[in-house]
């Protein structure tokens, strides 16, 4: 007999939600077979069994959460039997079907003859509650929760064995008419939708998993991370010329301005790691590797694939890798590994003509750079001369707990310096 533990599926993962069990107790399990779907902060992952056996018991039901390393199921070896279970809940006792009057009239049980009596009149439905892989809830309660967009995990069941029944859903709807009770981590005001009545003028579009995760993570970030913003205009004339030279040399491969910015950030972070950090309650984690995430907009959410060791990669490597990751991101085929481990993020809305914007930090990172569009500015030179220059605006969002204004400003200055002297990006 062995315990199956909640695996660590990404390095920022602290707990996982059991999305679906592929097996039920009593099912044979072979190593390599899909056992359970686990939703992490980043993605939905299929988790495979590591050894052969029989699924003995599911300890964490669908929809419920367990921390990394917590047992989520018991796997039995060949011929092993399930561990003894706790006696059924007291409510199960009066649930005995059939002749409920019998106990009051013991004469009713002609003991020697009644071999079939006991098992037949037991309550198999109640007894099997222990091994059910669903959170205990009645089908009616589940349907009402679905229709009202209620999360069953936020509701306490009042039925036998804690089963969530209609009355519990109705109570929940009554008590919380305005904000739909969301997952405890995300008491997001953004999710306040009228829970009960359907407005004919409003179409209800269920949230995709990515949208849910995006919403939860961004809410978490804005609520727990004190952001401050530093804005700086950078002259990119030299950068554009440099890019042109590079692209002529690399032809047919191409690098983008964004690839150069990613590389510049990596170089700047390597030289001055003030923002290559994560803030925790009792310490500052200084990351030794520089992994730069690149925000990719999807139709229904945002993902951030990570260029690992961006400081040690060439610009063309970064370019190729970014395009490959972004392509798979749009097909939602990124693995959690590819979306985790970032130490800094670059978000670029320049292609949409945005001059400048502020970005929300992607925890546990401490900084994110928002890149605006390149534009022609009239610039007054030192000698008072007007010239037209290619410029763009960078806005750095910083976790104030990890880094202060002056330190952040110094970093942004160094980054601007690199971008204005692009040879130093690759030097």
């Amino acid at each position: 007999m062995s315990e199956i533990l909640m695996p660590r599926l990404s390095d920022t993962m602290e707990e996982g939600v059991i999305s679906a069990w592929h097996k039920k107790p009593g099912d044979k399990v072979s190593a390599g077979e899909a056992l359970v779907d686990i939703e992490t902060d980043k993605a939905l992952m299929e988790y495979e069994a590591y050894e052969d056996g029989v699924l003995g018991e599911i300890l964490v039901a669908e929809g419920q959460t367990a921390s990394i390393g917590a047992p989520i199921a018991i796997l039995l070896g060949e011929g092993e039997s399930a561990p003894p279970k706790a006696p059924a809940a007291p409510e199960a006792a009066p649930a005995a079907n059939g002749q409920a009057a019998a106990p009051q009239q013991p004469a009713a049980a002609p003991a020697p003859a009644a071999t079939a009596t006991v098992p037949a009149q037991g309550a198999p439905a109640e007894a099997s509650n222990d091994t059910r892989s669903r959170p205990p809830s009645s089908p009616l309660a589940r349907r009402l929760a679905r229709e009202n967009d209620l999360d069953l995990t936020t509701i306490t069941g009042s039925g036998p064995g804690g089963r969530i029944v209609r009355a519990d859903i109705e109570a929940a709807l009554k008590n919380a008419p305005a904000p739909a009770p969301a997952a405890p981590q995300a008491p997001s005001p953004a999710t306040t939708a009228p829970a009960a009545a359907e407005d004919p003028d409003v179409e209800r579009v269920p949230l995709s998993r990515i949208r849910k995760v995006t919403a939860r993570r961004l809410t978490e970030s804005m609520q727990s991370t004190p952001h401050f913003y530093l804005t700086r205009v950078v002259d990119v004339g030299a950068l554009l010329a440099f890019r042109k030279t590079l692209n002529e040399a690399l032809n047919p491969a191409k690098v983008s301005v964004n690839d150069l910015i990613v590389k510049a950030c990596a170089t700047a972070l390597r030289a001055n790691p003030v923002l290559n950090v994560s803030f925790t309650e009792d310490s500052l984690l200084v990351h030794k590797r520089v992994n730069v995430g690149v925000a990719v907009a999807l139709e229904d959410g945002l993902v951030v694939p990570v260029i690992r060791d961006a400081d040690r990669k060439t610009v063309s490597q970064i370019g190729a890798e970014t395009r490959e990751l972004a392509g798979r991101a749009r097909e939602q085929r990124l693995t959690p590994q590819e979306m985790s481990g970032g130490t800094f993020t670059v978000s670029n809305l320049g292609m949409f003509g945005i001059d400048s914007f502020t970005a929300v930090i992607n925890p546990p990172e401490a900084g994110i750079l928002a890149v605006g569009a390149t534009r022609k500015d009239v610039v007054v030179g030192d000698d008072g001369e007007f010239t037209a220059r290619d410029r763009l605006t960078l806005t750095l969002s910083v976790d104030h707990r990890a880094c202060d204004g002056a330190t952040g400003a110094k970093f942004l200055g160094e980054l601007a310096e690199l971008l204005e002297n692009p040879l130093r990006i690759i030097a």
């Binding site: 009066p94 059939g98 009057a101 019998a102 009713a108 039925g159």
Partner: protein, 328 residues
């Protein structure tokens, strides 16, 4: 409109149908000279003569087979089998012949016969004379199984059974023969295969038939004093089974208890429970419960017999538990 017993309603209906259609005749043990063990055929021999009211030997397989033959040739026999327990002797004729002939021979002839037979325990008749084995027949395609619970239904459903072209097992119940109820004059034949909501309610559906429909009504009265509003669905027809009415009711109430006068395991309640989960799964707020007989041959001793039979008390307990499980 007249108030009469279930017994009287059956007797009057038989007479009416014999007057209406000279092809209708009755056959069975002790039904002529003795006028029936339960007096359903009282006066019929005198009125219609021995050609249409035929006493038979104690040979169920033989006279059921004879009735099948008569039905195939155009008569409308109404066979009385003294109790449903004795129908087991005619099981092959009923299951392998009556139920099969129409389909097996390409519809060349139907078998428009009725087998009237009472079931039911509680009469201290011992284990072999107290069974409710209508399940056996409800299981068989080709048969119809009707189980009226009131005098009016007994009348309208017997009328329908006699006029129906398929073999019908018409289930009566020893405990119901003396129950009284109003029977409208000029009662039309019932529509076969329709259940009825005999008592509307909002909190729970009790599904029952035959004697248990009365037990359900008694239980519902008791439950009403507790503030529990029980809806009763009387199945009336076990085959064809009116799944729609059952499902519609449970969709309204959100939970159900099936009361049956037979054994729980593989019983009619199991079929009803399956029907409910198929049709009303998303409306169920508690598991479907079944109240049935103790899984023993029914004891002869009166206290033991009463303890083994499903009662209004056991039904009330089951309904209370079910409603409590929904948090109400």
């Amino acid at each position: 409109m007249a108030t009469m017993t279930y017994r009287q309603a059956l007797r009057d209906t038989l007479r009416d149908e014999m007057l209406r259609d000279e092809n209708v005749f009755v056959m069975g043990e002790e039904i002529g000279v003795f006028e029936g063990s339960y007096k359903i055929t009282e006066g019929l021999l005198k009125e219609f003569g021995p050609k249409r009211v035929r006493d038979t030997p104690i040979a169920e397989e033989g006279f059921v087979g004879a009735a099948i033959g008569a039905a195939m040739l155009g008569l409308r026999p109404v066979v009385e089998i003294m109790t449903i327990n004795f129908s087991l002797l005619a099981l092959d004729q009923i299951v392998n012949h009556a139920a099969k002939i129409y389909g097996m021979f390409g519809g060349q002839c139907s078998v428009p016969m009725v087998i009237r037979t009472p079931g039911g325990g509680g009469q201290q008749l011992g284990a072999t004379h107290s069974q409710n084995v209508e399940l056996f027949y409800s299981f068989i395609p080709g048969l119809k199984v009707l189980a009226p619970s009131t005098p009016a239904e007994a009348s309208s459903m017997l009328r329908a059974a006699i006029r129906d072209d398929d073999p019908v097992l018409f289930l009566e119940n020893l405990a119901l023969y003396n129950t009284r109820g109003e029977v409208p004059d000029d009662l039309e034949p019932a529509e076969i295969g329709r259940a009825a909501v005999t008592r509307p309610g909002t909190d729970v559906t009790i599904i029952a038939y035959s004697r248990m429909a009365h037990v359900a009504a008694e239980a519902a009265d008791k439950l009403a004093t507790d503030g529990i509003s029980a809806e009763i669905v009387d199945l009336r027809s076990l085959r064809p089974l009116d799944r729609e009415t059952v499902v519609e009711s449970v969709r309204r109430t959100g939970c159900a208890v099936v009361a049956e006068d037979d054994w729980l395991t593989y019983g009619i309640g199991a079929e009803i429970a399956a029907t409910i989960q198929e049709g009303a799964f998303d409306h169920l707020d508690a598991p479907v419960r079944r109240v049935a007989m103790a899984e023993v041959p029914l004891p002869y001793s009166k206290p033991l017999e009463l303890a083994a039979l499903p009662s209004a008390e056991s039904l009330v307990t089951a309904v209370r538990d079910t409603v409590r499980a929904t948090g109400r």
